[in-house]
Amino acid sequence: MAENVGGGGGRGESAGDKAREEFFSEAQEIVDGLSRDLLALDDVCRRGGSDAELVNDVFRAVHTLKGLSGLFGAAMMSGLSHELENLLDDLRLGRIELTSQVLDLLFQSVELYGRILAAAKGDAPEPAPEVKALLAALGQVAQQKGGGGGSVVAQYELDPGLLGVLTEYEEHRLRTNLQAGLSLYRMRVQFQLATIDSALDDLKAKTRPHGEIITFLPTGEGGDAESVELEILVASRANLGVLRGAVAGPNISVEEVRRRDGASNPLASIPPPPLDDRSRERDQTDPYGGVSMSPPTTSGGDALLDEINAAGAGATRTSAPPPAPSFPPGPGGQLGTFPPGGIPGMPVPGIAAGGAGAAAQGASGGSGATQRELTLRSVTQTVRVDIRKLDHLMNIVGELAIVRGVVARLSERVRLDPDLKEIAPDLHRLHRSFDRHLAQMQNGILEVRMVPLGQVFDKLARIVRQISREHDKQVNLVITGAETEIDKLIVEELSDPLMHMIRNAIDHGIEDKDERMRVGKPAVGTIALNAFQKGNHVVLEIEDDGKGMDPKVILAAALRRGLVTESEAREMSDKEVLTLVFQPGFTTRDDVTALSGRGVGMDIVKTNISKLGGVVDISSEVGIGTKMTITLPITLAIISVLMLEVAGRTFCMPLASVEEAIVFDDAMIKTFEGREVMTQRGATLPIARLAKLFQLEGWRPGVWINESAPTPKPPEVRPGRKAKSYCVVATVADRRVGFIVDRLVGQQDIVIKALGKSLKKARGLAGATELGDQRVGLVLDAAALINEVLASSTEGRIAGALEGPRSPKTGIDPRDARSDGGMS
């Protein structure tokens, strides 16, 4: 990346913390990219191929990391990067081979980068011993390197000026391609600077199927302020016609770079007749005849250039500089004969390694305002934002939503007031407009929070590779839906649970190779990681083709550990048995492996996922495989809820969990196996009375339930009519329960707030929200409620559990919520 310093208007900005923070996020981004490239490289290698471009990408990433970390005094990172860069340099220059051992080292490095970054942020101790071990291993590999190949480059009619600007790597690629017998082509292309990026990408895409682009060289000819001419060197197996056809365009010329006839006769001094005028001009002034066949060294020095210069000088002593070519060859054959930039008279400044250069031109006043405006345009279009800032914005939107509610009520009052009738329409319009813009703002903020799940999938891919190697099981990870977007905060919290599940899948699921062969499965196991959006939810599936989970084994293990009783065990369906793995302390293993089996896996997975408002489901078939399905809300920041009233209190049921709401009548209740159920569209639906779940049953219209706390007005009941109630059918994953409520208030978007300390342990509640009239609505945790209802054999049992005021499982009395000041 080139950076320019211009003198002029000063802007003093403190670098300190902000720069450091940016360093972290930038380094993290690079490490993530590195990880992706390595995985791709691993994939290529396993298929027996190689990808010079990928190796170079990896090299460049480490190179950048090294620069960054050096800048910020991150010594450990910088040291690691330095060694790694050496290794990668050797790799890309073909001095060492990309073996699986080398790949392992590279993967370890990515792992360590992550830990070093965590340590630098203060989240973990520095992995000093590991880094030391890796550095030693890197050193060993470096010693194994062999020499590079001999040169064939000199056999081609290449401008020494061109060769003079090739980096060592590009030179290596050129040499490798020529050694492989590819032909060399020179394209001259005129680009508009404004569109060069896309035009270049286009050209690259057209060229790639036919060969490799070695370098792009601005010729400095034929261009003006708005356009530039590039000379592009391409190595290809295709013939000239094919290549010309592939890249054909108005401003493109393609010609072959010919081998000097000297290839077979190293001392022949006359180059073959050139193809067109331009190249003739160059060839005539390119007086190289002899070609040295001695192999150049692969590192340091400028052997190749020396070689060519020497050859040129030896053959003809033409000293007059050529008239037109872009790179005048030096008049003599020694190093240093290239005038800087081909401009005679330019003093060659000394370069001190310490960075002290020649004292030079004074800083001039600098650019005018218009020019500055132009230059500002090209700075990057993205900004990094701390998620807490977005949370803050979202909270403000939440407050505004409350204001909106108040305005709505006000507008309604004004409408009904005959004195104010005149302003009513205006107020109404204002309210509508406010409403619309607020919704847009909310969506905008939400959009910013969304990141693709691919971020976490990349990490998982690395883990799969590592675990499967440790375990000597071959596993293929197939990812779909990596582009599915989800709240950044959720992504952060997902990696641990997903890692657990993947470890389990490899450790317990995928059989070893021999066993797989025996049962007729492919030797390589497959773990599929699928993500897709489903309404307001994101569904994640982790599916393996391993040996599946045997309900009998699980039940036996659960019995052994006393997680279920014999009688409970007899009653359980296979699906219920599978969910036992989510019980704390569950494990089928008596031996603890390095990977899993400590019995602290799946219950934590479940807890973590439910903290995110999600649920985990298992389905498994013995011998076929296991599928875990995680259903998560897209965002935690804001949710749409259905407002309900139960016993005069307002509750919010997340709309995402609401399937439908129907008018309910006690006559619809049936009792089935001691549970209250109703039939809904031919299916049996377990029902639960929310009032009973939350101990609000004592409440009757017009009756005070608590003398100390004023009770909201009871719903109006017209005389002679029975109070209507409603059944809200909630579903989470494939579980459904109908909750009986008194009244449906309506739908609203709310910003959910965490419950204060005293309510934190309350089950069945996800949080609370302000309703805008100084009242608080409790947000129901649909998943927890449904599980609670379904897990109890009778509704009475949970109700009983909820009623015990001092029991640790105590449900809470939402009456407390009003006076509780502990909302955050």
Binding site: N4, G7, G164, V165, F338, G355, A356, S367
Partner: protein, 119 residues
């Protein structure tokens, strides 16, 4: 880099500067003619147009043939740096470098070096 050069410490060394970042070699080529820059800093390992090619290009332009030009890169590419020097670069600052070194180098090239108290 921007942080280093726009830091108040750098103003002490060479006066206030305004930094423009180019995203790539082409971006640099696009930016250069549009303003008058007093100093150019480039890496060597860059995608597409490499640093050497960029230097070559810069030195051919009438406007920038004598503008101070600094290479920042690693010791690993010694040969490339040497080529950069031959193409007309004025200084080479190996990465990783201390911010002070960068500031000092720029200040010297800009001829604005002034005595700075230690540290």
């Amino acid at each position: 880099m921007r942080a280093i050069l726009e830091d108040p410490a750098s103003a002490a060394a060479m006066g206030a500067v305004e930094v423009t970042e180019a995203q790539s070699g082409f971006d640099a080529m696009r930016l250069l003619p549009r303003a008058r820059y007093d100093l150019i800093i480039t890496d060597i390992n860059m995608p597409d147009v490499n640093g050497l090619e960029l230097i070559h290009f810069i030195r051919k332009s009438e406007q920038y043939r004598t503008t101070p030009l600094v290479i920042i890169s690693t010791q690993a590419t010694e040969r490339d740096v040497e080529r950069g020097r031959k193409l007309g670069a004025d200084a080479y600052v190996p990465k990783p470098f201390a911010p002070e070194l960068m500031r000092e180098t720029c200040a010297r090239l800009l001829g604005t070096a002034r005595p700075v108290s230690d540290g």
